[in-house]
Amino acid sequence: MEKAKISGYQLFVLIFLFEMGSALLVPLAGEAKQAAWLVILIAMIGGFLLFFIYYGLFQYYPDQLLTEFVKQILGNFLGRIVAFLYILYFIYLAARVLRDFGDTLLTFAYPHVPLFFANAVFILVVVYTVRKGIEVLARTGELFFVLENLLLMTFMLLIVASGMIHLNNLKPIFEISGTELMKMGFTKSVFFPFGEVIVFLMIFPYLNEPQRLKKIGIGSLATSGIFLAIIMAVNIAVLGVDLTTRSQYPLLTLIQSIEVAGILERLDVYFLFLLMIGGFIKISVFTYVAVTGTANVFNVKQPSRLAYPVGIVILLISIIMASSYTEHIHEGLGAVPRYIHLPFQVIIPLLLLIIAFFKNRKKGRQASK
């Protein structure tokens, strides 16, 4: 574990940027049509439930990383294996986001740049950051938090000013039945982006005021969930259901349609800015966690030495994980939530929590005797 402390505000900011990261760009819960924003809010509540599982684990082991307390719960051998699987999971997620990001970039702005090059320079920046440690990442997050919010607010203002919002597009809300919406909310949408907050089990121990963690975590998830819901609602209100669900990057389409005063138009670059800030924080958090986790499992004294190798692994996985963007998205919507997110975000943590509960109760009894 690194010798570092981050403040409550910094953690809030990191979780917020992490959640907003790539979720801003893709059509979240698109199959719910007009009610997409509602599904996001439902998923947010699912996210709260998951957060409570993680919080429960954190309370049993407040100063240990995920990779450390897994060994305490499951024993040394099995614990190491699970910890290693988690590291692979984080590396895979980092690679997924990187691929998302690289493909988006190539699709909308740089058709002639090879994917490998675009991803390589980006992972280089991430590795540079990860080597500086969690404190620097948190401070960077603070600055980017302000920047991202400024950008989002400017967009909202411009959209309202250009008079493109048609609230009729949001009706009827319940074209799909309520139970159906609940089902959508508690399955796919909860894993991405809310369930991914499990990586923060590797960062919570750095918090300098652990007693406030519950408030910070829920507050941050709620803020980002509401932001995402609002943005989705605005997307649908401006573009209509059809265009929103069909377009790859609804936010980009939205930003491209802004035209104010003959000068504020073609604001693609600001979309690029948003995309990169979010993607950067998200990939950095995943990479940082993968690096510290690896150092922890394999007892490496200087985790910063692992940053380059882990970065290269992430880069290579991001290239070979899918042969095309369509395949990548298809995997992301089909197999990944069911076979990867579900066990790593829900089943294993839940099992760990149950085992930890019984173990600690036993200990508590022994102590009281």
């Binding site: 403040s7 505000y9 910094q10 970039l105 702005a109 740089y110 740049v113 675009a118 320079v121 980006f122 920046v125 540079y128 950051t129 500086k132 620097v136 990442l137 948190a138 401070r139 960077t140 603070e142 600055l143 980017f144 000068i263 073609r266 693609d268 670059v269 690029l272 800015f273 990169m276 800030i277 950067f280």
Partner: protein
């Protein structure tokens, strides 16, 4: 295990070496002899018979006459005090022309004869040479193994002038000089408090430069002074010729283009910084005083911001930040927009730019790098060359770059405009040291923009932000109060809060027990009759009715 022993042995060897070189320190001090001729011989030998060391021999007393010698270094002493108060008073004093014992003579001289401020006795050579070479006069009396040191420091020095950096319209016109004593006195004149504490030390094994640390006891944060002293004491170098030497030897991070210690020529700026809880380091021989710890936003603050009203000051600050951003990304934006993102440029402007670029044989990146290099060459040349040829160069520069290059079709006029704006912007930053960093960073941005357009630029921007966030100055994060966020501190960053709302000193710099800097209700209270009032209460003076 083997390597462990090896290390230990190396340490021992290093210690041994230290002892060999620093003989004078570890060995017993070398004492002064009682015979004058032996002493003078020693002085001559040690100084290589340098002619600027003046030896003046006098005779005092009667039956027997006692030989007395005065030693001083020409140019370092204050001439009137040596001639009038030392030599003349020794020669003409009635006590000394009487019969006197050599043992008493020294006491008489120090207590009755020499009418100078500081007189003390020394026994060992090391201290004697230190005083002699810093401008004091030495008095030997034959037969006594003690010497008198009379403080006669003086000599030619630059007088106090207006500083040439950090210029202001409003505010003090005084700038620091090369003499530490004068500089410290200037601060004393501004801050009349016994809590203004100063500690001095000599750094440099050969130059033995005077270095003084100044801080306000009670306002400075605990630990910061100790940290500064620890870092200064670590320095083991032959010479300190400017405060830049110290800066480079005590800064937190070496590999960075950004300054992590601030320096200034203005006493009022140092005073303001001391009152915020910072520490100043004075180095003899330079008008630039170091101020630590430094934070990023500080480099955009000018003392005048505090002298002007807050709205004006805030607007100027905001302008400076914009100017700094322009000076970093200006040419890069142009390169990225013209090479990769033409759709960003409004159509009419795009047509003009494209028409200009039609004849230009070079890609925009090369064009930008070429022009920036030319500009840097011009600037460097105008800084270093003799003043007499300055006008020639500006003509050549303006003609060659402004006219000929454009007419020849080597560069586009738009590029010239961009480079000029960037150049002006980089001069508008109040701190020279951060303007230089912007110059270096700018080239990185141009290259990134030329290879990957805005994608490259944003990557460079992210690296820049991460790098800035990773810096520290004496342990204080460089980007405070922005990151880590310090809400109270934000009032003195991009805008400046009104003077009556500056309730506290910045928490990240000053001692937490002594934060209050002004009383409550400092907001001016003009007479209430002004403005729209319904009641006819008479409060305050100056009612018009």
């Amino acid at each position: 295990m083997a390597s462990f022993f090896k290390q230990k042995r190396q340490v021992k060897q290093r210690e041994k070496k230290k002892e060999d070189t620093g003989q004078s320190k570890s060995k017993t001090p070398d004492y002064i002899d009682s015979s004058i001729s032996a002493n003078l011989e020693k002085v001559k030998k040690k100084t290589g018979n340098s002619p600027d060391i003046i030896i003046r021999t006098l005779k005092i007393g009667q039956n027997p006459e006692i030989k007395t010698t005065i030693l001083y270094v020409q140019g370092l002493i204050d001439n009137p005090s040596v001639t009038d108060f030392l030599i003349e008073s020794i020669m003409k004093n009635p006590h000394l022309s009487e019969k006197i014992l050599p043992q008493e003579a020294l006491d008489v001289i120090s207590e009755e004869v020499v009418s100078l401020g500081g007189v003390e006795t020394v026994k060992d050579w090391e201290k004697l040479f230190l005083s002699l070479l810093s401008g004091d006069s030495i008095i030997f009396v034959d037969g006594i193994n003690i010497a008198l040191v009379a403080s006669t420091k003086g000599g030619e020095r630059r007088s106090i002038q207006e500083p040439s950096t950090h210029l202001t319209v409003r505010g003090s016109r005084e700038g620091f000089t090369e003499s530490n004593a004068t500089n410290i006195a200037m601060l004393r004149r501004i801050i009349n408090s016994p809590n203004l504490w100063i500690e001095s030390m000599k750094i440099g094994t050969v130059t033995k430069t005077d270095v003084s640390i100044m801080y306000i006891n009670g306002i400075v944060k605990e630990g910061i002074v100790e940290e500064v002293k620890k870092r200064l004491n670590r320095i083991n170098i032959d010479s300190i010729l400017e405060s830049g030497y110290i800066e480079q030897l005590i800064e937190d991070q070496v590999m960075t283009p950004f300054p992590t210690l601030n320096h200034t020529e203005r006493p009022d700026m140092v005073a303001g910084n001391l009152l915020e809880g910072r520490v100043a380091i004075f180095v003899n021989g330079t008008p630039f005083v170091l101020v630590a710890p430094a934070i990023f936003v500080q480099f955009f603050q000018s003392v005048e911001d505090y002298y002007n009203r807050f709205d004006i000051a805030s607007a100027t600050r905001f302008l400076r930040i914009i100017v700094f951003i322009i000076s970093i990304v200006g040419p890069a934006l142009y390169v990225a927009a013209t090479t990769f993102h033409q759709e960003m440029i409004p159509t009419k402007l795009l047509v003009i730019v494209a028409a200009q670029r039609e004849t230009v044989p070079l890609p925009a990146v090369v064009e930008a790098l070429l022009m920036e290099m030319t500009f840097e060459i011009l600037r460097e040349a105008s800084l270093r060359m003799p003043k007499a040829v300055g006008s020639t160069m500006s003509i050549v520069g303006a003609l060659v770059i402004g006219q000929a290059a454009v007419q020849a079709g080597i560069v586009s006029p738009a590029m010239v405009i961009i480079v000029s704006i960037t150049a002006i912007a980089s001069f508008a930053t109040p701190s020279y040291s951060i303007a230089i960093s912007a110059r270096i960073v700018r080239f990185g941005f141009i290259i990134c923009a030329g290879t990957l357009g805005f994608y490259g630029m944003i990557l460079a921007f992210i690296v820049l932000i991460v790098h800035l966030c990773s810096l520290r100055s004496l342990g204080v994060p460089y980007m405070t109060p922005l990151a880590p966020l310090n809400p109270e501190g934000l009032g003195d960053t991009f805008f400046r809060r009104p003077m009556w709302a500056f309730k506290e000193r910045p928490k990240f710099l000053a001692n937490e027990n002594n934060l209050i800097r002004e009383g409550d209700n400092q907001r001016p209270l003009p007479p209430e009759s002004r403005g729209m009032k319904t009641s006819d209460e008479k409060k305050g003076e100056g009612n018009e009715s």
